[in-house]
């Protein structure tokens, strides 16, 4: 068994604290200098059901969840029935003494939680379980303390101390068991220095929110919908420190329309939603585009409408989002693949929205939105707010009021209500240069051309896919959004097996550089596309725009993310043929 490499699954009913244990363990491993992938799987319930989370931690760079685990923490018997089959040889099962489960195949650590609680508040049950897992590894207590103190940093000293006490009880119990039975993973985890230097551990949504704060968003209108709700919570939690007006509106229609109103009034504004909510926002997207109002929309995909399969992941909204229009207008759609891209591209999204004066949609999916990953701490020093052709209220008094003036690059100077000299009406009607309704055909042609011309302002380098892995690969995996993680992990292992596979990653999907994409695909020896949907939406888009048809496919539509083993095995099979 190699050092500093472990995967842990935790399962139990909703409300039992499964995720708290997972997050505590993740923090522990991050503090130990490891890279961490933390993923969750739960139905749309407040109590009961079957909730699980996985914590994978390694010295090396990791980007996806694996199917097999070294430890299973079962907070109920259902977890044992459901998840035991996923355990590696020699794995440890931690469960309550009340469980009647016995096994010769696994090491079973039965914990008398009631006894260990010994008068402590029942809430500390999770911390005891966390302590037990760490006890299996026998690492010294400093890291334990460090992880707890950082996890509970916003809480009082008393809470930290109580948690520490509970963790220690679990830890001692498990360590004692392991020493006596010569089992567990003693010595498996040692504190190291992460080669990335300082790391952050966060979800895709968090990374996007941090970027939005950095980008100077001032208005957030949102209506809660999994898996985008954490945007609302996050921005509201920071409204005082950063003066961000965050409003839960009556519905998604109001959410985007308040954002557009704020944008026309001159501030950076955003909303976040999932597919069902985005459907309600559709008309307003067209409004923003015609009125040339910048707005950033985060769309976190899950399958189906209000109901659908609401707490699971999916890449099924791509074509819907790209085609969310009545008539035609420019709109940027981009899909970050990991938390670094969530951060960078969300920041970019605000700049692009301002530069192009049009809606920018950032597509995430539940997997990336809610899973947590470690990454090198973001470098914010080079990030510059670029508002494009924008006149601040405190700037000069305008001489003309041609808000939609025809210009060489299609972009007109933007100014806001309150600006002396600039009076105009911002309209969703087709209009002339001043904003006045104008349905004249010649004017409409010029306005259409003006609006689409703005695409040229997007830096070219953003519009081509990124390549990872060896140049002269025998097979290129093509993917977008959150499949990046699993693709990178797969090509790493395939390469070390001596197989030449690389990965072509699309972030910018609407628009992308058609010619460049075509020539990149033409120069691949063979291609396979990976998408978490049924119909292969990116495949269709690529074919529509370049004529290139990717024949080999791996579409997964079981509402779960791609797991490392699945992709690895699939690619091996394809290469064998």
């Amino acid at each position: 068994m190699s050092l500093n490499k472990i995967s842990i699954k935790i399962g139990g009913p909703a409300g039992s604290g499964v995720f708290t244990i997972g997050l505590l363990l993740s923090k522990y491993f991050q503090r130990a200098g490891l890279n961490v992938v933390y993923t969750t799987d739960y139905p749309s319930l407040i109590r009961g059901g079957h909730n699980t989370c996985c914590v994978r931690a390694e010295n090396e760079e990791i980007n996806a969840e694996v199917l097999n685990h070294d430890v299973l923490v079962a907070l109920d018997d259902l977890t044992i029935t459901e998840d035991l089959k996923q355990l590696n040889k020699g794995a440890v099962l931690i469960c309550d003494t009340k469980s009647t489960f016995e096994s010769a195949d696994y090491q079973v650590l039965k914990v008398d939680f009631d006894k260990l609680l010994d008068g402590m508040d029942k809430r500390y049950f999770n911390t005891i379980a966390f302590g037990c897992v760490i006890g299996l590894m026998g690492e010294d207590g400093d890291m334990l303390r460090d992880a707890l103190a950082t996890h509970f940093r916003k809480k009082s000293q008393e809470v930290v101390e109580e948690n520490l006490k509970a963790a220690q009880v679990g830890y001692d119990f498990a360590k004692e068991f392991c020493v006596q039975n010569n089992t567990g993973f003693l010595g498996r985890i040692t504190k190291t220095q992460n080669s990335l230097g300082n790391t952050v551990f966060m979800s895709g949504n968090d990374a996007a929110c941090v970027a939005a704060v950095k980008a100077g968003v001032k208005f957030v209108g949102e209506y809660p919908m999994t898996p985008s709700t954490s945007f609302l919570h996050y921005m509201a939690a920071h409204e005082l420190d950063y003066n961000i007006t965050t409003k839960q509106t009556e519905d998604e229609i109001a959410a985007i329309n308040t954002a557009i109103g704020a944008s026309v009034a001159g501030v950076r504004a955003m909303t976040a939603t999932s597919g069902g909510g985005f459907a309600l926002m559709n008309e307003a997207i067209g409004f923003a585009a015609i009125a040339e109002a910048p707005v950033v929309v985060f769309e976190c995909m899950r399958g189906g409408p209000s109901t659908g399969i609401p707490t699971y992941t999916d890449q099924g909204d791509l074509k819907f989002v790209i085609n969310s229009s009545q008539g035609e207008f420019p709109m940027v759609v981009l899909a970050p693949g990991d938390i670094e891209e969530c951060f960078e591209e969300s920041f970019n999204a605000f700049n692009l929205a301002d530069i192009l004066q049009t809606p920018v949609i950032v597509l995430l999916d539940k997997h990336l939105a809610a899973s947590h990953f470690t990454a090198k701490r973001f470098d914010t020093s080079k990030l510059k707010v670029d508002r494009g052709k924008y006149i601040n209220l405190s700037d000069e008094v305008l001489a003309n009021n041609k808000r939609h003036e025809f210009t060489e690059d299609g972009i007109s100077t933007r100014f806001n209500p309150g600006q002396p000299g600039g009076i105009y009406t911002s309209s969703s009607y087709e209009h002339d240069e001043t904003g006045y309704t104008c349905e004249d055909s010649e004017n409409h042609v010029k306005m259409m051309e003006k609006r689409f011309k703005k695409y040229d302002a997007i830096p070219k380098e953003l519009l081509r896919p990124k390549m990872y892995g060896p140049e002269d690969a025998d097979l290129t995996i093509v993917g977008w959004g959150s499949t990046k993680g699993v693709a990178l992990d797969a090509i790493k292992y395939l390469n070390s097996d001596g197989l030449k596979v690389n990965y072509m990653h699309f972030v910018y999907i609407n628009p992308f550089d058609n010619e460049e994409v075509k020539s990149m695909l033409d120069s691949c020896k063979d291609t396979i596309i990976l998408e978490a949907n049924y119909t292969g939406q990116l495949r269709d888009i690529i074919r529509e725009k370049t004529g290139f048809y990717i024949e080999k496919t791996y579409f997964k539509y079981d509402a779960r993310p791609f797991y490392f083993q699945e992709v690895y095995t699939k690619i091996k099979e394809v290469l064998k043929k």
């Binding site: 229609i253 001159g266 701490r377």
Partner: protein
């Protein structure tokens, strides 16, 4: 309808000692409304109110939806946003929150406000955001050529109800009292003085003000013409127990005012009803959001939390 109004005696109270005239508010756009349409008078009344209050036109933002009434922003030289059907209120809310120094006036038809936009109306009233909402209520969908609207009287034959509408119409004043607006009035497009005065008071009111304006539509609701209204309109100020500080009083009279007897005037007006939405915001709004600097925002301490 397009009566001249004398503005010599208008009291200018604008900041910076600026004085504006009707000429300053003239957008110079040729109207697309039918001759005799009540909307002309409403534009005039809004201009009068702006002049009366001495507001600099650059600080006025008129937000509309779509419909005949919603063409409004083009006929005044102020800032405007012509949104989409029924969404003027959320757009106006966002704009006001971004720049609280603007005087935001929302204008739209009865279909726009009480039909497709009804959900937003209820919530905007509840929030008491400091904006003014004018509903040019012609009791018909005009721009789409004469279908029934939420305020169309029961029994009325329209293009979509050839056998007579069987729905009970919305009572705007009762709705607004129940919804929590803090300035609630009814006016008439044929009475410029009444409208000018009521709109000026509504703009000056701290909180959400709503004025339902009985608006003449000569083309799609010709039976409800000037004379029809004149025969039915009474002024609620003249009632002996007039007390617009009292919601219950307003509600009783709102329910009494129906199609055969239309009471104009202010049904409820209370500056002290409650704080406005912006005054209640927890974040520091001393400086309007739009005036806040967003360059080089430091997020290092946020990132520290993720280490």
């Amino acid at each position: 309808m397009n009566e001249e109004i004398k503005i010599e005696d208008v009291n200018f109270v604008g900041g910076d000692n600026l004085k504006f005239s009707l000429l300053d508010l003239d957008s110079k756009h040729e109207s697309q409304w039918c001759p005799g349409c009540g909307n002309y008078g409403i534009v005039m009344a809004v201009k009068n109110a702006i002049l009366k209050l001495g507001i600099n036109p650059k600080d006025v933002l008129i937000v509309s939806g779509i419909g005949c009434a919603s063409k409004f922003p083009h006929y005044l030289k102020t800032y405007g946003i012509e949104t989409i059907h029924g969404r003027a209120l959320p757009v106006a809310t966002g704009a006001k929150l971004a720049n609280k120094d603007l005087h935001v006036i929302v204008v739209g038809g009865d279909g726009d406000g009480y039909g497709i936009g009804m959900g937003h109306l209820m919530h905007t009233m509840r929030r008491n955001i400091n904006i003014t909402y004018l509903i040019n209520n012609n009791e018909i969908y005009a721009l789409t050529k004469g279908q029934t609207s939420p305020t169309t009287p029961k029994g009325k034959k329209t293009a979509s109800t050839p056998n007579g509408s069987i729905e009970t119409p919305v009572n705007p004043m009762a709705l607004a009292i129940g919804g929590g607006a803090t300035f609630i009035a009814k006016s008439f497009s044929g009475d410029i003085n009444h409208m000018s005065d009521t709109i000026a008071r509504a703009i000056a009111h701290k909180g959400f003000s709503i004025i339902d304006i009985a608006q003449i539509c000569v083309s799609f609701n010709p039976s409800m013409n000037f004379k029809w209204y004149k025969d039915r309109i009474y002024n609620i100020d003249d009632l002996p127990d007039y007390n617009n500080k009292n919601k219950s009083w307003g509600m009783i009279h709102a329910l009494e005012s129906q199609d055969d007897k239309i009471g104009i005037g202010i049904y409820y007006h209370n500056d002290d009803d409650r704080e406005t939405y912006i005054d209640d915001l927890p974040e520091d709004e001393k400086l309007s959001l739009v005036r806040q600097d967003i360059n080089d925002i430091d997020i290092e301490n946020i990132l520290d939390n993720y280490e």
